[in-house]
């Protein structure tokens, strides 16, 4: 899809005329954080260079508006920073932490899964840990194996962590606002290839209280023959595939869960009950990934409705390599999605 070019670090080209009015995902996240920081003085930010040289520009302008106490540049000390977010949350603040690349959370997992996520439970409900960790994720930009992963399946596995994955500008803003207002730890995965993409929005996008609640999937396209469940860039790849297949007389429904924790099981299962076929697509590694979770969920709950074996696409289990032809070989795309669907609906 031309939308997802390999231009992450290059100046953006001219905005297409029809897209001028549409907010970008990056801008939508920025806007959500700005509004929430205006609304609630306990919201503050920590991250490397978020004030001095905003990575990917998502925090641009926030330090100027809110000052360096509330938009804090941190040293390269991710354990301390995530831990500080946990402690600040215990102390009544609402921290937002940015990682430059979400993969780097690898060095601070304990503070998330064993501290932030467990403290409320372990104290018998005495504390709340409201914090948001922003994790740029995903491949397709030649950024290399430790800068290109989509590790949300891990955090859906571990208890106590909410997980959001916005695929449009409206969702990026509304889910971010929900994340900041949530009293639990939230991981907010932002696909790097989506940052500059622009999407049309309804008027409520402007409403500073328009929040998109967690746990409600979006049906991005209605269809009858097969359900694709996809997140982030794969939503758009699936929509492109669906469009192409419509011409072949195949009607595809595209469901975007929007949050993995909580997961809108009803919408996913309901869709498959209607279409009878399921394809789960994600950039995540396949084994124990979110795709298999969706297959398991659907076969447990809608076995009788299935007309064909469910299928999944994802990274088959190799690191995301650097060279473009290698990288393309390990990630799903519209073409592979269309091929898989064709094979599933053709008897």
């Amino acid at each position: 899809m031309s939308r997802f070019d390999r231009k992450l670090f290059r100046p953006g080209g001219a905005v297409k005329p029809e897209e001028r009015e549409w907010p970008s995902i990056r801008g939508a996240i920025n806007e959500a954080m700005r509004e929430e920081m205006r609304r609630d003085p306990t919201v503050f930010q920590m991250g490397e260079d978020i004030a001095g040289a905003p990575p990917f520009g998502v925090t641009t302008g926030l330090a100027a508006e809110f000052g360096l106490e509330r938009v804090r540049d941190t040293p390269c000390s991710e354990v301390a920073v995530v831990g500080a977010a946990v402690g600040a949350a215990l102390g009544g603040m609402r921290p937002i932490v940015e990682f430059q690349f979400g993969d780097f959370l690898s060095v601070a997992i304990d503070q998330l899964t064993h501290q932030a996520a467990l403290l409320r439970y372990l104290t018998g409900g005495q504390v709340r840990v409201p914090l948001v960790i922003r994790l740029p994720c995903g491949g397709g930009q030649g950024t290399g194996a430790q800068h290109a992963q989509s590790l949300y399946s891990w955090f859906a596995h571990a208890p106590g962590i909410k997980v959001a994955l916005p695929a449009t500008s409206l969702d990026a803003k509304g889910l971010m606002k929900a994340a900041i207002r949530d009293d639990n730890p939230v991981l907010f995965f932002e696909h790097k290839a989506l940052y500059r993409t622009r999407w049309p929005v309804p008027p409520e996008f402007q409403d500073p209280d328009h929040v998109i609640p967690f746990g409600r999937a979006a049906i991005r396209r209605a269809g009858d023959d097969l359900t694709v469940v996809a997140t982030l860039t794969m939503v758009h790849h699936a929509l492109a595939a669906a469009e192409a297949l419509a011409a072949e007389g195949i009607s595809v429904e595209v469901v975007d869960p929007r949050t993995l924790v909580p997961l809108d099981r009803e919408t996913i299962v309901g869709s498959v009950r209607k279409t009878g076929r399921l394809l789960a697509v994600d950039e995540a590694y396949l084994t124990c990934g979110i795709q298999g979770e969706i297959l398991a969920l659907v076969t447990e709950r809608a076995f009788g409705a299935l007309k064909a074996p469910p299928r999944r696409l994802g990274n088959p289990g190799v690191p995301v390599p650097f060279a473009p032809p290698l990288e393309d070989a390990v990630l799903p795309d519209a073409g592979r999605i269309a091929a898989a669907i064709r094979a599933m609906v053709t008897p």
């Binding site: 509330r70 804090r72 500080a84 402690g87 304990d110 409320r120 504390v127």
Partner: protein, 314 residues
């Protein structure tokens, strides 16, 4: 509990509460990981917590009962938690006792993980414009975790109202501190972050109290973080069941000679601050208090299975 007598009482209460815990574990009334006792280390928690005020927040380790008691938590609810009862502070969910109302956050499952969290609490205290401080306990073993390094540096950068209290009891389980720390002291590491560091006799509750009080005063005044190393001695095993094959009898016997309770009691008696009679009365009171705590815990109901599914989400 800032008076001398108060400090002694706190130290005795810690010792007796923990002894009762160990006895209950030995009787198999309590399960799980064997008790991590502070026997011989009571002066550290008693002294440090005496330098704090309400609204200050303490973060504990796996060896956490001493600061709980020193912060004035209710022995009955501590004991109930150790017994895994729903009347315990954490409703039986975790034996790392927390009482938010008294500023004790129980951590300790993961060595050193409480240190960055305490830095964050100090950041919140600062951002919210209070003059409250956070104090975090960690051991000599924990001092070698990256989390401590990162937190100390962050606290120095941000001038956080934080006291990094390293309770050096000479061992990380079976590893002597001299093997794992080649610097002259852990307090010396403060210089690596541009922080003040203080080395104090952790078996003297007054010395600990004064060193921590100075650090607290600095923090309240906006002067930032201090690293205090309190040198003490672990009199028992790492956990209650540890046979300590790695330690000589002589070493253990010598350590008992320096028992801080014995020493402090003698000092108070010599100073005329404690009569035999008052001492006996104090012990009897504590005995009764602990017996009541054990009884309360025993009589308390265990949690219902469905409670396992509560308290995860806010």
């Amino acid at each position: 509990m800032r008076t001398e007598i108060g400090l002694l009482r706190t130290m005795l209460l810690i010792r007796r509460l923990e002894a009762a815990w160990a006895e209950a574990y030995a009787r198999d009334e309590i399960g799980g990981i064997p008790p991590a006792l502070s026997t011989g280390q009571e002066a550290v928690s008693a002294g440090a917590c005496a330098a704090l005020e309400p609204g200050d927040v303490v973060f504990t380790t796996h060896r956490g009962q001493a600061p709980q008691v020193a912060r004035g938590l209710d022995p009955t609810r501590i004991m109930a938690e150790l017994y895994g009862r729903r009347t315990g502070y954490n409703k039986g969910k975790s034996y790392h006792v927390t009482d938010v109302s008294r500023g004790v956050i129980g951590m300790g499952g993961i060595v050193a993980a409480q240190v960055p969290v305490a830095a964050g609490m100090a950041l919140a205290q600062k951002l919210r414009g209070t003059d409250r401080v956070s104090l975090v306990f960690f051991g000599d073993g924990a001092a070698n975790e990256g989390a401590v390094h990162e937190s100390a540096n962050l606290a120095a950068m941000w001038t956080l109202p934080l006291i990094l209290l390293c309770e050096n009891n000479g061992y990380c389980i079976s590893q002597p501190v001299a093997v794992a720390v080649k610097a002259a002291s852990i307090a010396d590491r403060a210089a690596a972050y541009g922080l003040p560091g203080a080395l104090v006799d952790g078996n003297d509750p007054l010395a600990v109290r004064d060193a921590v009080a100075a650090a607290v005063a600095r923090a309240r005044a906006g002067g930032g973080t201090t690293l205090v190393e309190a040198r003490t001695v672990r009199l028992g095993g790492h956990l209650a069941h540890d046979p300590q094959h790695y330690r000589s009898r002589e070493e253990i016997a010598a350590a008992w000679e320096a028992c801080p309770i014995k020493r402090f009691r003698a000092r108070l008696a010599a100073a005329g601050l404690l009569t035999e009679e008052a001492s006996a009365r104090m012990e009897a009171e504590i005995e009764a208090e602990i017996a009541a705590a054990v009884e309360f815990a025993r009589q308390s109901p265990v949690p219902e299975p469905r409670e396992a599914f509560e308290d995860l989400w806010a």
